[in-house]
Symmetry: none
Subunit: 220 residues, 2 copies
Protein backbone atom coordinates (compact mmCIF):
# COMPACT_ATOMS: atom_id res chain seq x y z
CA UNK A 1 0.00 0.00 0.00
CA UNK A 2 0.82 3.62 -0.14
CA UNK A 3 3.31 5.18 -2.31
CA UNK A 4 1.83 7.67 -4.58
CA UNK A 5 -0.02 9.01 -1.61
CA UNK A 6 -1.99 12.04 -2.57
CA UNK A 7 -0.26 13.75 -5.43
CA UNK A 8 2.74 12.43 -7.28
CA UNK A 9 4.41 15.78 -7.99
CA UNK A 10 2.97 15.88 -11.45
CA UNK A 11 4.92 18.68 -12.93
CA UNK A 12 8.14 18.82 -10.99
CA UNK A 13 10.81 21.13 -12.37
CA UNK A 14 8.28 23.52 -13.73
CA UNK A 15 10.99 26.14 -13.83
CA UNK A 16 14.69 25.58 -14.06
CA UNK A 17 16.21 25.54 -10.56
CA UNK A 18 19.33 27.60 -10.24
CA UNK A 19 21.10 25.08 -8.01
CA UNK A 20 23.03 25.49 -4.82
CA UNK A 21 26.83 25.53 -4.88
CA UNK A 22 28.63 24.87 -1.62
CA UNK A 23 32.15 26.19 -1.53
CA UNK A 24 34.63 24.93 1.03
CA UNK A 25 37.98 26.72 1.04
CA UNK A 26 40.00 27.96 3.96
CA UNK A 27 41.24 30.94 2.05
CA UNK A 28 38.51 33.51 2.59
CA UNK A 29 39.41 35.55 -0.47
CA UNK A 30 39.18 32.51 -2.69
CA UNK A 31 35.85 31.64 -1.15
CA UNK A 32 34.32 35.03 -1.76
CA UNK A 33 35.64 35.36 -5.26
CA UNK A 34 34.33 31.91 -6.13
CA UNK A 35 31.01 32.82 -4.60
CA UNK A 36 30.89 35.96 -6.70
CA UNK A 37 31.66 33.97 -9.81
CA UNK A 38 28.93 31.47 -9.05
CA UNK A 39 26.37 34.12 -8.26
CA UNK A 40 27.12 35.95 -11.46
CA UNK A 41 26.46 32.72 -13.34
CA UNK A 42 23.07 32.38 -11.71
CA UNK A 43 23.89 29.79 -9.09
CA UNK A 44 23.32 30.05 -5.36
CA UNK A 45 26.71 29.92 -3.67
CA UNK A 46 27.29 29.31 0.01
CA UNK A 47 30.85 29.45 1.32
CA UNK A 48 32.48 27.69 4.25
CA UNK A 49 35.97 28.16 5.67
CA UNK A 50 36.52 24.52 6.63
CA UNK A 51 35.19 21.04 6.24
CA UNK A 52 34.03 21.01 9.84
CA UNK A 53 32.07 24.19 9.32
CA UNK A 54 30.41 22.75 6.24
CA UNK A 55 29.43 19.57 8.03
CA UNK A 56 27.94 21.51 10.89
CA UNK A 57 25.94 23.83 8.69
CA UNK A 58 25.00 21.34 5.99
CA UNK A 59 21.26 21.56 5.65
CA UNK A 60 20.68 18.77 3.24
CA UNK A 61 18.98 21.23 0.92
CA UNK A 62 16.13 20.12 -1.26
CA UNK A 63 17.12 20.63 -4.83
CA UNK A 64 20.18 20.01 -6.92
CA UNK A 65 23.49 21.08 -5.46
CA UNK A 66 27.20 20.50 -5.73
CA UNK A 67 30.37 21.06 -3.75
CA UNK A 68 33.55 22.83 -4.66
CA UNK A 69 36.29 21.63 -2.35
CA UNK A 70 39.83 22.73 -1.77
CA UNK A 71 42.11 19.78 -1.14
CA UNK A 72 44.56 21.32 1.30
CA UNK A 73 42.85 22.79 4.30
CA UNK A 74 43.45 23.17 8.00
CA UNK A 75 41.75 20.35 9.88
CA UNK A 76 39.73 18.11 7.61
CA UNK A 77 41.34 17.93 4.18
CA UNK A 78 39.23 17.96 1.07
CA UNK A 79 39.87 14.29 0.41
CA UNK A 80 38.99 13.38 3.98
CA UNK A 81 35.80 15.37 3.77
CA UNK A 82 34.98 13.59 0.53
CA UNK A 83 35.50 10.17 2.09
CA UNK A 84 33.29 11.17 4.95
CA UNK A 85 30.54 12.40 2.67
CA UNK A 86 30.72 9.32 0.49
CA UNK A 87 30.37 7.15 3.54
CA UNK A 88 27.31 9.07 4.66
CA UNK A 89 25.81 8.46 1.21
CA UNK A 90 25.92 12.00 0.03
CA UNK A 91 24.70 12.08 -3.52
CA UNK A 92 25.71 15.51 -4.59
CA UNK A 93 28.71 15.80 -6.91
CA UNK A 94 32.05 17.07 -5.63
CA UNK A 95 34.36 19.23 -7.68
CA UNK A 96 37.90 19.65 -6.43
CA UNK A 97 39.86 22.82 -6.90
CA UNK A 98 43.34 23.02 -5.54
CA UNK A 99 46.51 25.00 -5.87
CA UNK A 100 48.89 22.14 -5.36
CA UNK A 101 47.45 19.23 -7.21
CA UNK A 102 49.34 16.30 -8.64
CA UNK A 103 48.34 13.25 -10.59
CA UNK A 104 48.11 10.75 -7.71
CA UNK A 105 45.96 13.17 -5.75
CA UNK A 106 43.58 13.70 -8.62
CA UNK A 107 43.42 9.99 -9.30
CA UNK A 108 42.53 9.28 -5.72
CA UNK A 109 39.83 11.91 -5.70
CA UNK A 110 38.34 10.58 -8.92
CA UNK A 111 38.45 7.02 -7.63
CA UNK A 112 36.36 8.14 -4.70
CA UNK A 113 33.84 9.43 -7.15
CA UNK A 114 34.76 13.09 -7.52
CA UNK A 115 32.89 14.75 -10.31
CA UNK A 116 35.85 16.79 -11.49
CA UNK A 117 39.26 17.97 -10.42
CA UNK A 118 40.86 21.29 -11.27
CA UNK A 119 44.14 22.94 -10.38
CA UNK A 120 44.51 26.65 -9.86
CA UNK A 121 44.62 28.84 -11.66
CA UNK A 122 41.39 27.57 -13.15
CA UNK A 123 39.62 28.77 -16.23
CA UNK A 124 36.34 30.31 -15.05
CA UNK A 125 34.47 29.06 -18.04
CA UNK A 126 35.62 25.49 -17.54
CA UNK A 127 34.73 25.58 -13.88
CA UNK A 128 31.27 26.97 -14.54
CA UNK A 129 30.64 24.35 -17.16
CA UNK A 130 31.65 21.65 -14.75
CA UNK A 131 29.41 23.09 -12.02
CA UNK A 132 26.52 23.31 -14.41
CA UNK A 133 27.04 19.76 -15.51
CA UNK A 134 27.35 18.61 -11.90
CA UNK A 135 24.06 20.24 -11.00
CA UNK A 136 22.36 18.61 -13.93
CA UNK A 137 23.75 15.28 -12.90
CA UNK A 138 22.54 15.76 -9.38
CA UNK A 139 19.13 16.75 -10.58
CA UNK A 140 18.96 13.57 -12.58
CA UNK A 141 20.03 11.57 -9.57
CA UNK A 142 17.44 13.26 -7.40
CA UNK A 143 14.60 12.74 -9.79
CA UNK A 144 15.51 9.19 -10.71
CA UNK A 145 16.33 9.44 -14.37
CA UNK A 146 13.44 11.63 -15.33
CA UNK A 147 11.87 8.95 -17.49
CA UNK A 148 8.35 9.57 -18.76
CA UNK A 149 7.50 6.16 -17.41
CA UNK A 150 7.68 7.58 -13.92
CA UNK A 151 5.04 10.17 -14.66
CA UNK A 152 2.79 7.59 -16.19
CA UNK A 153 3.00 5.56 -13.02
CA UNK A 154 1.03 8.38 -11.45
CA UNK A 155 -1.84 7.65 -13.80
CA UNK A 156 -2.33 4.20 -12.32
CA UNK A 157 -5.02 3.62 -9.77
CA UNK A 158 -4.06 1.95 -6.50
CA UNK A 159 -5.47 -1.37 -7.60
CA UNK A 160 -3.75 -1.26 -10.93
CA UNK A 161 -0.50 -0.54 -9.16
CA UNK A 162 -0.93 -3.56 -6.90
CA UNK A 163 -1.62 -5.79 -9.84
CA UNK A 164 1.41 -4.42 -11.62
CA UNK A 165 3.69 -5.21 -8.72
CA UNK A 166 2.44 -8.77 -8.73
CA UNK A 167 3.14 -9.01 -12.44
CA UNK A 168 6.65 -7.71 -11.78
CA UNK A 169 7.01 -10.51 -9.27
CA UNK A 170 6.33 -12.98 -12.05
CA UNK A 171 2.95 -14.13 -10.81
CA UNK A 172 0.31 -15.70 -13.04
CA UNK A 173 -3.03 -13.97 -13.32
CA UNK A 174 -4.72 -16.66 -11.28
CA UNK A 175 -2.15 -16.27 -8.51
CA UNK A 176 -2.63 -12.54 -8.49
CA UNK A 177 -6.36 -13.07 -8.34
CA UNK A 178 -6.05 -15.40 -5.37
CA UNK A 179 -3.61 -13.04 -3.70
CA UNK A 180 -5.93 -10.08 -4.04
CA UNK A 181 -9.07 -12.09 -3.47
CA UNK A 182 -10.64 -11.17 -6.79
CA UNK A 183 -11.51 -12.97 -10.02
CA UNK A 184 -8.89 -13.72 -12.61
CA UNK A 185 -11.05 -11.85 -15.02
CA UNK A 186 -10.66 -8.66 -13.06
CA UNK A 187 -6.91 -9.10 -12.90
CA UNK A 188 -6.83 -9.24 -16.66
CA UNK A 189 -8.74 -6.01 -16.86
CA UNK A 190 -6.38 -4.21 -14.49
CA UNK A 191 -3.39 -5.72 -16.16
CA UNK A 192 -4.50 -4.61 -19.57
CA UNK A 193 -5.03 -1.09 -18.31
CA UNK A 194 -1.61 -1.04 -16.69
CA UNK A 195 0.09 -1.97 -19.94
CA UNK A 196 -1.93 0.58 -21.82
CA UNK A 197 -1.46 3.42 -19.35
CA UNK A 198 2.26 2.84 -19.09
CA UNK A 199 2.65 2.60 -22.82
CA UNK A 200 4.48 -0.71 -22.81
CA UNK A 201 3.80 -3.66 -25.04
CA UNK A 202 5.40 -6.54 -23.24
CA UNK A 203 6.11 -7.78 -19.78
CA UNK A 204 9.81 -7.57 -20.56
CA UNK A 205 9.52 -3.88 -21.24
CA UNK A 206 7.38 -3.37 -18.18
CA UNK A 207 9.98 -5.01 -15.99
CA UNK A 208 12.82 -3.01 -17.47
CA UNK A 209 11.13 0.31 -17.04
CA UNK A 210 9.94 -0.52 -13.58
CA UNK A 211 13.42 -1.41 -12.45
CA UNK A 212 14.65 1.87 -13.80
CA UNK A 213 11.85 3.67 -12.01
CA UNK A 214 12.58 1.81 -8.80
CA UNK A 215 9.26 0.02 -8.45
CA UNK A 216 9.49 -2.94 -6.11
CA UNK A 217 7.92 -6.19 -7.22
CA UNK A 218 5.43 -7.90 -4.97
CA UNK A 219 5.83 -11.47 -3.76
CA UNK A 220 2.79 -13.58 -4.36
Amino acid sequence: MRRRAGRPPRNSQAKRMPGRVYIVDDDASVGTSLARLMRSAGFEPEAFASGEEYLKAADGHGGPACLILDVRMEGLSGLELQKHLVKSRMTCPIIFLTGHGDVPMSVQAMKEGAFDFFTKPVDDKELLESVSSALETHERILSGTDCPFRDRLGALTAREFEVMRCVLGGALNKQIAAHLGIAEKTVKVHRGRVMHKLGVESVAELVRQSIEAGVEPSEV
Copy 2:
Protein backbone atom coordinates in the same frame (compact mmCIF):
# COMPACT_ATOMS: atom_id res chain seq x y z
CA MET B 1 24.36 -12.31 -34.66
CA ARG B 2 27.76 -11.93 -33.18
CA ARG B 3 28.57 -11.70 -29.52
CA ARG B 4 29.89 -14.81 -27.93
CA ALA B 5 30.18 -16.47 -31.30
CA GLY B 6 31.21 -20.07 -31.37
CA ARG B 7 31.98 -21.32 -27.96
CA PRO B 8 30.48 -19.99 -24.82
CA PRO B 9 33.40 -21.00 -22.58
CA ARG B 10 31.55 -23.91 -21.17
CA ASN B 11 33.29 -24.55 -17.94
CA SER B 12 34.89 -21.21 -17.27
CA GLN B 13 36.72 -20.75 -14.02
CA ALA B 14 37.29 -24.40 -13.44
CA LYS B 15 40.52 -23.56 -11.70
CA ARG B 16 41.65 -20.24 -10.33
CA MET B 17 42.88 -18.26 -13.31
CA PRO B 18 45.87 -16.10 -12.76
CA GLY B 19 44.44 -13.36 -14.94
CA ARG B 20 45.42 -11.98 -18.27
CA VAL B 21 47.18 -8.62 -18.48
CA TYR B 22 47.12 -6.88 -21.84
CA ILE B 23 49.88 -4.35 -22.25
CA VAL B 24 49.65 -1.70 -24.93
CA ASP B 25 52.73 0.49 -25.29
CA ASP B 26 54.50 1.59 -28.42
CA ASP B 27 57.89 1.43 -26.73
CA ALA B 28 58.90 -2.19 -27.15
CA SER B 29 61.38 -2.15 -24.29
CA VAL B 30 58.70 -0.87 -21.92
CA GLY B 31 56.33 -3.53 -23.14
CA THR B 32 58.72 -6.38 -22.60
CA SER B 33 59.87 -5.19 -19.22
CA LEU B 34 56.28 -4.76 -18.08
CA ALA B 35 55.50 -8.20 -19.42
CA ARG B 36 58.41 -9.63 -17.47
CA LEU B 37 57.22 -7.92 -14.33
CA MET B 38 53.72 -9.26 -14.77
CA ARG B 39 54.88 -12.76 -15.51
CA SER B 40 57.09 -12.76 -12.45
CA ALA B 41 54.06 -11.83 -10.39
CA GLY B 42 52.12 -14.76 -11.74
CA PHE B 43 49.98 -12.97 -14.28
CA GLU B 44 49.66 -13.77 -17.99
CA PRO B 45 50.94 -10.77 -19.89
CA GLU B 46 50.36 -10.15 -23.56
CA ALA B 47 51.98 -7.12 -25.15
CA PHE B 48 50.89 -5.02 -28.11
CA ALA B 49 52.75 -2.21 -29.80
CA SER B 50 49.67 -0.13 -30.63
CA GLY B 51 45.99 0.28 -29.96
CA GLU B 52 45.18 -0.91 -33.45
CA GLU B 53 47.17 -4.05 -32.93
CA TYR B 54 45.40 -4.74 -29.68
CA LEU B 55 41.98 -4.28 -31.23
CA LYS B 56 42.84 -6.63 -34.04
CA ALA B 57 44.18 -9.33 -31.79
CA ALA B 58 41.72 -8.94 -28.96
CA ASP B 59 40.29 -12.35 -28.41
CA GLY B 60 37.70 -11.53 -25.85
CA HIS B 61 39.34 -13.98 -23.50
CA GLY B 62 37.24 -15.91 -21.06
CA GLY B 63 38.43 -15.06 -17.63
CA PRO B 64 39.41 -11.97 -15.72
CA ALA B 65 41.75 -9.56 -17.45
CA CYS B 66 42.92 -5.98 -17.42
CA LEU B 67 44.67 -3.52 -19.67
CA ILE B 68 47.74 -1.42 -19.08
CA LEU B 69 47.71 1.43 -21.54
CA ASP B 70 50.23 4.06 -22.45
CA VAL B 71 48.56 7.38 -23.12
CA ARG B 72 50.82 8.74 -25.80
CA MET B 73 51.15 6.42 -28.73
CA GLU B 74 51.43 6.58 -32.46
CA GLY B 75 48.04 6.25 -34.04
CA LEU B 76 45.30 5.55 -31.55
CA SER B 77 46.14 7.24 -28.25
CA GLY B 78 45.45 5.51 -24.98
CA LEU B 79 42.53 7.77 -24.22
CA GLU B 80 41.03 7.22 -27.63
CA LEU B 81 41.40 3.48 -27.28
CA GLN B 82 39.71 3.71 -23.90
CA LYS B 83 36.77 5.63 -25.35
CA HIS B 84 36.44 3.08 -28.06
CA LEU B 85 36.50 0.19 -25.64
CA VAL B 86 34.00 1.84 -23.33
CA LYS B 87 31.66 2.34 -26.25
CA SER B 88 31.91 -1.30 -27.19
CA ARG B 89 30.97 -2.21 -23.65
CA MET B 90 34.30 -3.60 -22.65
CA THR B 91 34.12 -4.53 -19.03
CA CYS B 92 37.71 -5.12 -18.22
CA PRO B 93 39.47 -2.48 -16.15
CA ILE B 94 42.01 -0.13 -17.72
CA ILE B 95 45.12 1.05 -15.96
CA PHE B 96 46.99 3.95 -17.50
CA LEU B 97 50.72 4.28 -17.32
CA THR B 98 52.35 7.23 -18.96
CA GLY B 99 55.57 9.17 -18.96
CA HIS B 100 54.05 12.56 -19.50
CA GLY B 101 50.94 12.68 -17.39
CA ASP B 102 49.27 15.75 -16.02
CA VAL B 103 46.24 16.36 -13.87
CA PRO B 104 43.68 17.12 -16.59
CA MET B 105 44.74 14.03 -18.49
CA SER B 106 44.38 11.80 -15.46
CA VAL B 107 41.03 13.36 -14.60
CA GLN B 108 39.73 12.71 -18.07
CA ALA B 109 40.87 9.12 -17.99
CA MET B 110 39.29 8.56 -14.61
CA LYS B 111 36.05 10.17 -15.74
CA GLU B 112 35.89 7.69 -18.56
CA GLY B 113 36.12 4.97 -16.01
CA ALA B 114 39.82 4.18 -15.87
CA PHE B 115 40.68 1.89 -13.03
CA ASP B 116 43.92 3.66 -12.17
CA PHE B 117 46.41 6.13 -13.57
CA PHE B 118 50.16 6.08 -13.00
CA THR B 119 53.02 8.21 -14.19
CA LYS B 120 56.46 6.85 -14.93
CA PRO B 121 58.60 6.04 -13.20
CA VAL B 122 56.13 3.83 -11.44
CA ASP B 123 56.65 1.84 -8.30
CA ASP B 124 56.46 -1.83 -9.30
CA LYS B 125 54.75 -2.79 -6.12
CA GLU B 126 52.04 -0.18 -6.54
CA LEU B 127 51.43 -1.19 -10.12
CA LEU B 128 51.20 -4.86 -9.26
CA GLU B 129 48.77 -4.12 -6.50
CA SER B 130 46.62 -2.12 -8.85
CA VAL B 131 46.70 -4.89 -11.45
CA SER B 132 45.78 -7.46 -8.88
CA SER B 133 42.94 -5.34 -7.64
CA ALA B 134 41.78 -4.70 -11.21
CA LEU B 135 41.70 -8.41 -11.93
CA GLU B 136 39.70 -9.04 -8.82
CA THR B 137 37.29 -6.33 -9.80
CA HIS B 138 36.91 -7.77 -13.25
CA GLU B 139 36.33 -11.20 -11.89
CA ARG B 140 33.59 -9.82 -9.72
CA ILE B 141 32.09 -8.06 -12.70
CA LEU B 142 32.25 -11.20 -14.80
CA SER B 143 30.67 -13.38 -12.23
CA GLY B 144 28.16 -10.76 -11.18
CA THR B 145 28.78 -11.30 -7.49
CA ASP B 146 28.37 -15.01 -7.47
CA CYS B 147 24.92 -15.15 -9.00
CA PRO B 148 24.27 -18.70 -10.18
CA PHE B 149 22.31 -17.26 -13.06
CA ARG B 150 25.48 -16.24 -14.83
CA ASP B 151 26.93 -19.70 -14.70
CA ARG B 152 23.75 -21.12 -16.06
CA LEU B 153 23.95 -18.75 -18.99
CA GLY B 154 26.96 -20.78 -20.05
CA ALA B 155 24.75 -23.83 -20.34
CA LEU B 156 22.72 -22.21 -23.10
CA THR B 157 23.44 -23.09 -26.70
CA ALA B 158 24.05 -20.25 -29.12
CA ARG B 159 20.55 -20.57 -30.52
CA GLU B 160 18.94 -20.61 -27.15
CA PHE B 161 20.85 -17.50 -26.25
CA GLU B 162 19.63 -15.71 -29.35
CA VAL B 163 16.07 -16.64 -28.62
CA MET B 164 16.50 -15.45 -25.06
CA ARG B 165 17.73 -12.06 -26.16
CA CYS B 166 14.68 -11.70 -28.36
CA VAL B 167 12.46 -12.57 -25.44
CA LEU B 168 14.26 -9.95 -23.37
CA GLY B 169 13.43 -7.50 -26.13
CA GLY B 170 9.77 -8.23 -25.60
CA ALA B 171 9.18 -10.03 -28.87
CA LEU B 172 6.39 -12.50 -29.43
CA ASN B 173 7.26 -16.05 -30.41
CA LYS B 174 6.04 -15.50 -33.94
CA GLN B 175 8.19 -12.40 -34.28
CA ILE B 176 11.20 -14.25 -33.01
CA ALA B 177 10.47 -17.04 -35.44
CA ALA B 178 10.27 -14.63 -38.36
CA HIS B 179 13.39 -12.85 -37.17
CA LEU B 180 15.40 -16.03 -37.00
CA GLY B 181 13.77 -17.60 -40.00
CA ILE B 182 12.48 -20.65 -38.17
CA ALA B 183 9.11 -22.01 -37.12
CA GLU B 184 7.28 -20.65 -34.11
CA LYS B 185 7.26 -24.17 -32.83
CA THR B 186 11.01 -24.27 -32.64
CA VAL B 187 11.10 -20.98 -30.84
CA LYS B 188 8.85 -22.42 -28.20
CA VAL B 189 11.18 -25.34 -27.76
CA HIS B 190 14.23 -23.14 -27.36
CA ARG B 191 12.37 -20.78 -25.11
CA GLY B 192 11.21 -23.56 -22.88
CA ARG B 193 14.74 -24.87 -22.59
CA VAL B 194 16.04 -21.40 -21.77
CA MET B 195 13.62 -21.02 -18.90
CA HIS B 196 14.43 -24.48 -17.65
CA LYS B 197 18.20 -24.17 -17.94
CA LEU B 198 18.23 -20.80 -16.26
CA GLY B 199 15.98 -21.94 -13.50
CA VAL B 200 13.46 -19.14 -13.87
CA GLU B 201 9.72 -19.45 -13.90
CA SER B 202 8.57 -16.25 -15.48
CA VAL B 203 9.61 -13.73 -18.04
CA ALA B 204 9.71 -11.12 -15.29
CA GLU B 205 12.30 -13.12 -13.42
CA LEU B 206 14.23 -13.78 -16.59
CA VAL B 207 14.42 -10.08 -17.35
CA ARG B 208 15.49 -9.18 -13.83
CA GLN B 209 18.27 -11.71 -13.71
CA SER B 210 19.44 -10.90 -17.19
CA ILE B 211 19.73 -7.23 -16.39
CA GLU B 212 21.77 -8.11 -13.35
CA ALA B 213 23.95 -10.36 -15.46
CA GLY B 214 24.34 -7.68 -18.08
CA VAL B 215 22.74 -9.50 -20.98
CA GLU B 216 21.69 -7.15 -23.74
CA PRO B 217 18.24 -7.62 -25.22
CA SER B 218 17.84 -7.98 -28.94
CA GLU B 219 15.68 -5.76 -31.10
CA VAL B 220 13.29 -7.68 -33.27
